[in-house]
């Protein structure tokens, strides 16, 4: 090899390589299209039959080469699995199986076969046996017989026949089957060789074998032959569409399209089709009957138990499922209903039990109610009554039921009441009130009645229920209460409240008949001592007795009322004139008659104030007050008399009340002041003490003496108030002087009313506790002889109590009253103050001088101290001293002076009588 040739060789080589590479790539593009054809006859025959197809396809697609490969079932399966072929032509059953297992394209075309010059686009199966097998005539006769078939995968050679038997409910046992494998000629041989009693083959096989001289058709007979005019072959089964021609999934769609076009364009009865022993290819058939058959046979690919999804189950058993669930639902529903109805029953039972209880309770209430119960129907006929009804009315149930409640009417109720009752029942279904009814025995009684109209659920009137109680006792009690409210419990005569009514009535009557009417305020004189001496029981007895007497005096139309204590009011109407008061004298007489109390004849009198209407044309209250005022006047006038209120004098009375108010105000305003008048001891000439005398430092009228205002408050509450103020002030003054080194007894004047006030001693005690230094002996109380005698025993007790406290008493103005020796003996007053009227004139009047001497002597006898008032001159002092009088007071000594002058007066005081001056010279004034 030279160098010159080398490049040329290299060039050639590279050219060759290039061509070779091209050739390789060209060979790849031109790889033959492989068509797998199921060989159910010997392969050589199959190949020979279908070889013309290669030519047809090559003609329409010159760029491609085609190869037909006959395959038995396992080979074809393997080829499909490995995608070694591009198209497949197999029996429909196998097609479906392969399609399911490995995937195949939809059929491009369905083969149209031919037999005896006729088209056969469908095929089926043949079941045959030897013609001389008389024992096998029908499908049923195949039972237990040995049957030859190619394999269970063969559609025409097994499945269609099996399906036909299946549809006739003839079961093929695996043991009776003799499988030969392809080709189907073998199964024919088995029958001919008597290895099998019968055999399955595809339609057309027998005819082909006969044509090929391999079979004498007269030697066999077809079982279950189907006589279909125009179907050219022996047939034992249903027909199914002929074989499909299908691509594999990976086959080029363009190639598939061109192959399909070529197949469908094959000329019927042309050279090629004739060579292939077919009529050509038609549009793809519906292979679902095949699939259905395989499914029913449970042949592959439907041999496995189907995987059911709920959807499948639903699709297949929809009706049953619906039915089942409906039934289940129904059971549940019924169960629920049962449960509910049981629960409702239990509830109803409980309710009934409860209602029974309620009914029992209601019945029990009905039976045992203390109130009468009456039930009527809407027409007001009694339908039931309870025992209390029987008890109250006296009617038995039998007597009452069927009657109307009118049997109980007393006739004492107004028509208006019944009208009101029915109106309330009709509009409000309820009425309540008091009504007078009649018992069976005719007794009329009061009852509290409540009637209810009972309506049913529809609102219709069902019953009237009346509940009532006998309130006769209540009424009686009420009357008693009423009496108690209007009558005095002790005497049984009207009290203040009823008096008020009677007074109103009397005034009205007076207005009507134009006759005067008298209101008489009666107060017993000396009643309190009776009470004190004989006890309250005796006092009550006295009051009752007096009441009886007064009643006897009164006319029937007159009124006697007791206001309390010993105060009565009498009303006299229809007077003939304002001076027709003679009845009052009879009243006074009746009162004054002695009453026997504990064996003693006790006598009291009456003071009566009279107010006359219409002379005193005022209202009832005022009329009574005027009578009261007149009564006081009567008392002041000496008691045991009556005083007629004079409307014209009422002015003074009004002023009196105003004065009392003013005085009370003056006390509060510190307008009251005490002046002090010294008293001296006539035996020693020393100062005994001072008498506190009240003055009113009036802001307008100047200093007023007690004579100007004390009468205005005489016998009034203001007296007490003023007396208390005086005591307080005096004690306060005592303390002040004491603090200043002056121990000076102060005497104060206390009114009879104040002294007789029941709280006097306790009140005094309380006031004295504020001034302990004043005890004993710092305070002296002066009372008028007359006031002491008014309620003698009481005053005596008060004086004793006060003496025990360390407060001494003096009887003021002694000699002006009764000055009874009995009283003097029993009154524990330490001092007797001789009235200044006797003292002042004793120097000129022997009579008065005798009185003074008598009093002094008497006092001495009774171991009392005497003090003379009104000692105007030293002469008076000397005379009195000579008489043996213990002390004196008067202008001779000093006039009353303000408190702030007392201390100075005391310091300046020198005894007035010579005898005293010597004895007391050098003595300290302060004792």
């Amino acid at each position: 090899m030279n160098l010159v040739k080398l490049p040329r060789y290299v060039l050639f080589l590279s050219a060759f390589l290039s061509w070779a590479m091209l050739a390789v790539s060209s060979a790849q593009a031109l790889e033959p299209v492989r068509i797998g054809v199921l060989a159910f006859r010997p392969k050589t025959q199959t190949l020979a039959q279908w070889q013309p197809l290669v030519t047809v396809l090559k003609l329409s697609m010159p760029d491609r080469d085609f190869v037909v490969e006959p395959m038995v079932l396992p080979e074809m399966e393997q080829a499909i699995q490995s995608r070694r072929i591009d198209f497949v032509m197999t029996n429909p059953g196998h097609y479906i199986l392969m399609s399911r297992r490995y995937g195949l394209g939809a059929p491009l075309a369905t083969m149209i076969g031919q037999e005896a010059g006729k088209a056969a686009s469908a095929f089926g199966g043949v079941i045959f046996t030897l013609a001389n097998r008389d024992d096998i005539q029908t499908l049923e006769d195949l039972n237990q017989k040995t049957i030859a078939a190619v394999s269970v995968d063969s559609m025409g050679g097994y499945q269609v026949q099996a399906y036909e038997l299946f549809r006739r409910d003839i079961k093929l046992e695996p043991a009776q089957m003799l499988y030969t494998g392809m080709p189907q000629d073998q199964t024919v041989d088995r029958v001919l060789n008597k290895k099998a009693d019968a055999a399955f083959v595809r339609t057309g096989v027998l005819e082909k074998m006969a044509r090929e001289g391999k079979l004498d058709l007269s030697a066999i007979k077809v079982i279950n032959p189907q006589h279909l005019p125009g179907f050219p072959q022996a047939l034992s089964t249903r027909l199914y569409p002929e074989w499909p021609f299908a691509p594999l999934p990976n086959t080029d769609p363009g190639l598939s399209r061109r192959v399909a076009a070529a197949l469908l364009l094959l000329e019927d009865l042309g050279q090629v089709t004739h060579a292939m022993d077919i009529r050509g290819f038609g549009v793809p058939a519906d292979y679902s009957p095949v699939e259905e058959m395989l499914r029913d046979l449970r042949a592959p690919p439907f041999d496995k138990a189907p995987i059911f999804t709920w959807h499948d189950v639903w699709a297949r058993y929809q009706a049953w499922i619906v039915l089942l669930f409906s039934a289940f639902g129904l059971v549940l529903l019924l169960g629920a209903r049962l449960y509910l109805s049981r629960r409702n029953l239990a509830e109803a039972y409980r309710r009934v039990a409860h209602q029974t209880e309620q009914l029992k309770l209601s019945a029990s209430v009905f039976e045992h109610s203390y109130d009468g119960i009456l039930i009527t129907d809407p027409s007001n006929v009694i339908v039931d009554v309870n025992p209390a009804f029987v008890r109250i009315t006296g009617y038995t149930k039998a007597e009452a039921v069927g009657q109307q409640p009118a049997i109980l009417r007393s006739g004492q109720n107004t028509l208006l009441l019944y009208q009101e009752m029915w109106r309330a029942l009709n509009t409000q279904d309820f009425w309540q009130g008091e009504i007078w009814n009649k018992r069976k025995n005719g007794e009329v009684y009061a009852q509290m009645l409540a009637i209810t109209a009972v309506r049913d659920a529809a609102g219709q009137l069902a019953h009237y229920v009346a509940v009532f109680s006998d309130i006769s006792a209540l009424k009686a009690h009420q009357a008693e209460l009423d009496r108690m409210a209007h009558f005095d419990p002790l005497t049984g005569v009207p009290n203040r409240r009823l008096l008020s009514d009677r007074l109103d009535q009397a005034i009205a009557r007076s207005q009507r008949n134009a006759k005067p009417m008298a209101v008489c305020y009666l107060d017993l004189d000396g009643f309190k001592p009776v009470n004190d001496r004989f006890g309250h029981e005796a006092g009550d007895h006295l009051l009752v007795e007096i009441t009886h007497r007064l009643k006897r005096v009164l006319r029937s139309d007159d009124t006697l009322a007791r206001l309390g204590g010993d105060e009565f009011v009498l009303l006299f109407g229809d007077l003939d004139g304002v001076d027709d008061l003679s009845v009052l004298n009879r009243v006074l007489d009746a009162v004054v008659q002695p009453v026997d109390i504990k064996g003693q004849a006790v006598s009291v009198s009456a003071s009566i104030g009279v107010a006359l209407y219409p002379e005193d044309d005022v209202d009832a209250d005022t009329l009574l007050r005027h009578a009261d005022q007149a009564m006081y006047t009567a008392k002041q006038a000496g008691k045991n008399c009556y005083f007629r209120f004079d409307p014209s004098r009422d002015q003074q009375t009004q002023e009196r009340f105003a004065a009392q108010r003013d005085i009370i105000a003056a006390i509060k305003n510190h307008e009251m002041v005490l002046y002090y008048q010294p008293k001296i001891d006539l035996r020693t000439g020393k100062v005994l003490g001072v008498e506190a005398l009240i003055r009113w430092q009036h802001p307008e009228r100047g200093l007023l003496s007690p004579a100007l205002f004390l009468p205005l408050i005489e016998d009034s509450e203001a007296e007490v108030t003023l007396g208390q103020w005086v005591i307080d002030r005096a004690l306060g003054q005592y303390d002040d002087w004491r603090a200043a080194g002056l121990d000076l007894q102060i005497s104060v004047n206390i009114s009879g009313r104040h002294l007789q006030w029941s709280g006097f001693v306790d009140d005094l005690k309380k006031r004295l506790q504020q001034h302990p230094a004043a005890l004993p002996g710092g305070l002296e109380i002066e009372v008028l002889e007359t006031s002491a005698l008014e309620d003698f025993q009481w005053v005596a007790n008060v004086i004793t109590d006060c003496e025990n406290l360390g407060v001494s008493f003096a009887l003021d103005d002694f000699g002006t009253g009764y000055s009874s020796l009995t009283y003097l003996r029993n009154l524990p007053a330490k001092t007797l103050k001789i009235d200044q009227t006797f003292v002042g004139s004793m120097l000129a009047d022997q009579g008065d001088r005798a009185i003074v001497e008598g009093v002094v002597a008497l006092a001495r006898t009774f171991n009392r101290i005497t003090l003379a008032e009104g000692a105007e001159t030293v002469e008076h002092l000397r005379v009195l001293m000579e008489m043996g009088c213990d002390g004196a007071q008067g202008y001779a000594i000093a006039k009353p002076m303000p408190a702030d002058q007392v201390l100075g007066w005391c310091q300046a005081y020198r005894p007035l009588l010579a005898c005293h001056a010597e004895a007391n010279s050098g003595d300290d004034w302060s004792i």
Binding site: A119, R167, P289
Partner: protein, 328 residues
């Protein structure tokens, strides 16, 4: 109504104890009279496939609608396969028939064929037209003339029973023929062309299973009725899913070759069970669809002089024997 043969036999049997026990004591089969029409073939397919129990249902072959009606009137049959117009006419004559199943709706399977030279219905004026009197053929002819603007008397009517149609055509004594499958498929071999068919009168020719009201009233055939309807739907499913097998089996009775059978079905709409329900039972809130069709048909028949008065449609449809789920 004359005593039918069957009734006579039963009456006679009443005198024979043996017969009384063996014969009349047995429940009577539901007898359905039917003539050859592709839409009715489902019954025969079902019988062949053993979906129709011969112990329950008997198919009585007739040659025409008139014969079928006569069988029902005479009591030889309980029911018949008829068109709705035939049924309405029977009802107007006092035969209370009730439609319980729709086999098919003709959409081209009833037609008027004419010899060459007659180009349109209008050309039929004065021509001899053969039709089956008292049957759908009369309706089709009347409607065709109506549409073409011809009076009913503008043609020469030649009443012929359906089985005489082909021979009459061959004898050339008629110019046109109102006929239906399978005659139509057979006419293809002759010089005949289609002038008019039921596609031009949609939903007017409806083939139904018509049962006598008294059978419904008796109630003893309800199970058999459900059975036959169920079998029909099984067969219908077979026809639609495996026409190869179904058509092959019908060919003999239809008198056609296997290849001709699909053509005979071409002019039929065969409603499945659900459509049947819509037609006869109606769905919720909707009346049966066929009721509307029947009203229109009745009105048309009155207009065309085929009925004297508007038919009473009360109870004409009864969908309660139809399956309520897909038949298996």
């Amino acid at each position: 109504m004359p005593l039918s043969r069957r009734d006579f036999l039963c009456s006679a049997a009443a005198f024979s104890l043996l017969s009384a026990f063996v014969g009349c004591a047995q429940p009577r089969k539901l007898t359905i009279a039917s003539y050859v029409w592709p839409g009715y073939e489902s019954l025969y397919l079902a019988r062949h496939e053993r979906w129709l129990d011969p112990n329950k249902v008997e198919l009585l072959n007739t040659h025409s609608a008139r014969e079928t009606l006569r069988a029902i009137e005479e009591g030889r049959a309980d029911a018949g396969t008829l068109t709705l117009d035939e049924m309405l006419r029977a009802r107007s004559h006092g035969v209370p028939l009730v439609a319980v199943l729709v086999f098919d709706i003709s959409a081209g399977a009833d037609a008027i064929y004419a010899r060459s030279g007659i180009r349109s219905v209008a050309d039929l004026r004065g021509r001899r037209v053969a039709y089956e009197e008292g049957s759908t053929g009369a309706l089709v002819l009347a409607r065709a003339l109506d549409i073409a603007g011809l009076e009913q008397n503008d043609v020469v009517r030649v009443p012929l029973s359906v089985h005489e149609h082909l021979s009459a055509w061959q004898q050339e004594n008629i110019d046109a023929l109102v006929c239906y499958e399978p005659i139509i498929s057979l006419l293809a071999a002759f010089d005949a062309h289609r002038l008019f068919d039921t596609r031009q009168m949609p939903d007017m020719v409806v083939d139904v299973l018509a049962i006598h009201q008294k059978v419904l009233d008796a109630g003893n055939q309800n199970a058999a009725l459900r059975h036959v309807i169920h079998a029909h739907f099984k067969a219908l499913r077979h026809i639609t899913t495996n026409p190869h097998d179904a058509f092959a089996r019908m060919a003999e009775r239809l008198g056609l070759s296997i290849e001709q059978v699909p053509g005979a079905f071409r002019g039929l709409v065969m409603p499945d069970w659900q459509n049947n329900r819509d037609l006869l039972a109606g769905s919720q809130g909707h009346p049966p669809e066929l009721l509307v069709g029947a009203q229109q048909l009745g009105a048309l028949m009155v207009k065309l002089g085929l009925l004297n008065i508007h038919p009473d449609l009360d109870g004409v449809l009864n969908g309660r024997f139809l399956p309520e789920e897909a038949p298996r």
